[in-house]
Symmetry: C2
Subunit: 116 residues, 2 copies
């Protein structure tokens, strides 16, 4: 089966540094590079009293980080298409920036085309 892209869904628990827009931006930029993707646009939003959303639109789809510092939780999505990208390369990056004690990983293949 061929698919359009790989979508990694990461659940990060017991994290640190979740309330820093600067850390989220650096983690996001490094994730884009690690995955072999090409950055088109990056936006960081901070929430009050806490929480950060970082969105990287890449030529190959997107990488997103949402944080809930009050829960020690971050939701990370890495959706990349094409054979020159590797979404799983983002894992060591987010580990390094957020020091999660636990990560749940799920991978979805998006746009599966049944071959004749």
């Amino acid at each position: 089966m061929k698919s359009v892209g790989r979508h990694l869904i990461l659940e990060l628990w017991d994290c640190r540094e979740l309330n820093s827009p600067d850390v989220v931006e650096r983690a996001l930029r490094e994730s884009v590079e690690a995955a072999g993707a090409h950055l088109l646009d990056i936006k960081i939003h901070t929430f009050h009293p806490q929480g950060v959303t970082g969105v990287a639109v890449v030529s190959e789809s997107h990488i997103l980080i949402h944080t809930w510092p009050e829960l020690g939780y971050a939701a990370v999505d890495v959706f990349t298409c094409g054979s020159n990208t590797d979404p799983s390369a983002v894992l060591p990056v987010v580990r390094r920036y957020f020091s999660p004690r636990r990560i749940q990983v799920m991978e979805l293949r998006r746009g599966i085309v049944e071959e004749e």
Copy 2:
């Protein structure tokens, strides 16, 4: 079990209007409204020779549309947190804009917290 948010993963097949940035933007704006979310930022990227990515960052997380006109396929993600939003309300909106013949829907609950 409590969770931080609901993440709807939609696979739209045999669609129309996938190469129009204007249609993607309108679908996205209307999706935000239908879901009861609050728009923080919206960005539309067009690809050559074809394809559109639309990203809406909302206070409650994100709504995304990626299109592959050559396959008649669109990948839609709707991740909303809070009890005042309903990601499934996006379904009739994307149906109306892209006329898919087939939709696959999956819902992930993100950030599940086991209650004591």
